[in-house]
């Protein structure tokens, strides 16, 4: 069990040793082409491994089993990426999105009710987007009508990751349709085993089917499951904090470095161009790969700056959109360029590997997957509006 508060160098060695001992060799190979059930089973098992290590939720407060400082979280993220761990995808929403919301917007009772479950391996999903409320999330129409000490919920959510596996859902609903659109929203915790919930999987363009549509038909939710004030759910939903987001992208950036671009450089020793040249010996290929490698460091530099600011207590909320655009566009461009470099050989189906990041070495698939990052979490078009309006003071 790794503990916070020691020397950073020791923590680094500790995480490194833990990875060496626990990351199953060959997991990338074994999980390639796995179906949804196999994927879920593997992610459950892997989440369990992480829970035993102290690395499941290092950013949580000490009393909840975390307590690692931001510097320590950086070291952990670096070493997990370096150690090529599977992504903790099944529990990501619970650990990185729900828990921070609970820490900041829930009552003590709510925390005591929900956090132990997360710590013990309950799966959460997030019911935010709707078919007609995507980029314009605040126009959501799923309705919760107050009926004494409970809400009756009707409506539909979409793009809900892991809804089939989820025990709980953090749900945004409209409680007051008469208010301006950001005002009449509340945030509820829904037991996914409640009657009236139907889940339909959506297969993604790149293969996996971890997205879902979720239908709510007179679902009953006790009022005590509301997070934050009634009609005050919009602020609650902005829960994920800059620090967690920065660490999260940092881990992805380090994965992109170790297994993405450096993986490509290692593989390119064996790739041949049309005239039989070793790809890695070709000047144009060298320029391309070196440029990508340099740009991963650029993203990391921006993250370092954000983390320095977080440690100093500077507000970095403006940088969240910047890092999202920067990382996602680099990821996308890199996947495209390496796919193109592979030519027709890169068009052969190598089998989807859904429990890694965007660095599965199946570049064409990673390229399609990368659109998820251009689009999800607020399209880059919306992010650019945010940058223009909030950072640069441009009029709406």
């Amino acid at each position: 069990m790794l503990e916070p508060g020691g020397a950073l160098a020791e923590l680094r060695v500790g995480v490194r040793h833990w990875c060496e001992a626990h990351v199953p060799p060959g997991w990338r190979h074994q999980q390639r082409g796995a179906d949804h059930a196999e994927l879920v089973e593997f992610l459950r098992w892997w989440g369990g491994e992480l829970r035993c290590s102290g690395l499941f939720a290092p950013h949580w407060p000490r009393e909840w089993g975390g307590g690692f400082s931001v510097e320590e979280q950086v070291v952990i993220a670096e070493e997990l990426a370096r150690g090529d761990v599977p992504r903790n995808a099944l529990f990501h929403v619970a650990v990185f999105n729900v828990a921070p919301t609970l820490f900041h917007n829930a009552t003590r009772e709510q925390r005591d009710r929900f956090l132990p479950g997360i710590r013990d391996g309950e799966v959460w999903c997030q019911g935010y987007s709707e078919p007609d409320a995507g980029s314009d999330l605040a126009s959501l129409q799923t309705r919760a009508v107050r009926d004494g000490d409970r809400y009756i919920v009707n409506g539909q959510k979409v793009w809900t990751s892991w809804a089939r596996e989820a025990d709980w859902c953090m749900l945004l609903v409209r409680t007051d349709p008469s208010e301006a659109k950001h005002q009449g929203i509340s945030c509820l915790v829904v037991d996914m085993h409640s009657p009236g919930i139907a889940v339909r999987p959506i297969q993604q363009a790149w293969g996996p089917a971890d997205f879902n549509e979720v239908f709510f038909d007179n679902v009953v939710i006790p009022v005590e499951n509301r997070l934050g004030p009634e009609h005050g759910g919009w602020g609650v939903a902005q829960g994920t904090l800059a620090a967690e987001r920065a660490i999260s992208i940092l881990e992805m950036t380090e994965r992109l470095r170790h297994h993405g671009i450096e993986g490509a450089i290692r593989e390119a020793v064996a790739w041949r161009l049309e005239r039989g040249e070793v790809a890695l010996d070709d000047p144009a290929v060298r320029e391309l790969l070196a440029e990508c490698w340099a740009e991963v460091h650029v993203v990391r530099n921006v993250l370092n700056q954000m983390i320095d600011d977080i440690i100093l207590g500077v507000d970095v909320s403006g940088s969240s959109s910047v890092i999202k655009v920067l990382y996602s566009e680099l990821l996308h461009r890199m996947m495209l360029r390496i796919t193109d470099l592979r030519g027709v050989a890169g068009q052969i189906d190598a089998g989807v590997l859904a429990c890694a990041g965007w660095e599965t070495g199946f570049w064409m698939n990673d390229f399609i997957h990368s659109f998820g990052w251009l689009i999800g979490g607020g399209t880059n078009e919306i992010q650019r509006n945010v940058i223009g309006e909030r950072m640069l003071g441009l009029p709406r």
């Binding site: 959506i202 495209l336 068009q347 399609i368």
Partner: protein, 379 residues
Amino acid sequence: MTLSSAEQHELRSTARALLGRASTSKRVREVVASEAGFDADLWKQMVELGWTSIHVPERLGGAGCGYADLAVVLHELGRAFTPSPFLATAVLATGALLAADHDEVAVPVLAELVAGGSLGTVAFASVGGSYEPAQRSVSWSPDGTAVQLNGAAGYVVDAAASDVLVVAARAVDGTTAVMLVDATSAGLRVERMQTIDLTQRLFNVSFDGVRVAAEQMLTEPGPRAEALLDRLLTLGVVATASDAAGIAEQALESTAQYARERIQFGRPIGSFQAVKHHCANMAVAVEASRATTKAAATDLDGEPAGWRTTAGITASYVGPACSEVCALAMRVHAGIGFTWEHDTHMWMKRAKLDEVLFGRPAWHRRRLADDMFPVLAAK
């Protein structure tokens, strides 16, 4: 005689109507899951409409029109992302036989292909997907009065469905030969290479001492055989570019429609300049791709001297431009475009395969440089 523009227009309308009925998204998804991988009924109709013989001279039973006309069909097949043996049979195999010097071997087979009696393809990429002569990975050697083939070719379109294969092979001394091989020949094995694009099927074809009669050669081994393969490569480039331009055109239309209809923030998203400009950039790329594939197909009906250049220009621009159109379609469709149910990924995957099937744009640029720079630098 190529078609007049009114006749081309009619051909296009016919094709669009047929494929609009017979190659819907739902139908394509059924067909790609089937064993054959294409719709035999639709193929029959295509043959009956004369699409397979548009570019075949009248003396050989064709319509005697040109590649510029054939490209109209290819464009429409791209629009509907139709799985069909058209590229392999009507463009590649037929193209090889039309370019053959030895009529006695070519003509009977050609008649079969044109009439829909059999399917064909061409195996001329190396196992690594290269079209460079020196990389060719099928070898030929004399074996009595016949020749023997050994080795393998990669990325062969629709090989499993083909009755005949045109095979490019290289002798120990480097001499290239192109010959017609029966798909049922002993020692010939066909193995699927599963592509991301579900609508086109590629195969590895291996030759383990396959015996081919010497008279099955389509032309004299050596420079004429190389010229024939060069021509085939250009055909492949122009055909996939036409297909990609069709995909891109359809992606543009669908995306513009979505942008007109999808409401966010109380307005159609197409009224937002970011979306509008994505669509405008798609329109520019589509216009340029259409004009370039049309010019390229027209070149194929002209003097052979310029074909390599045509291939280079077309491959350098059209594939990347049409893929970028599909990428913008994905951005504009956002969430819905990221689902398997929507067609956006089908467009994208087919366009990406089209882009590289007959050589990376980067490789074509190097070829173009090799061909043209000595000439241009001396001007």
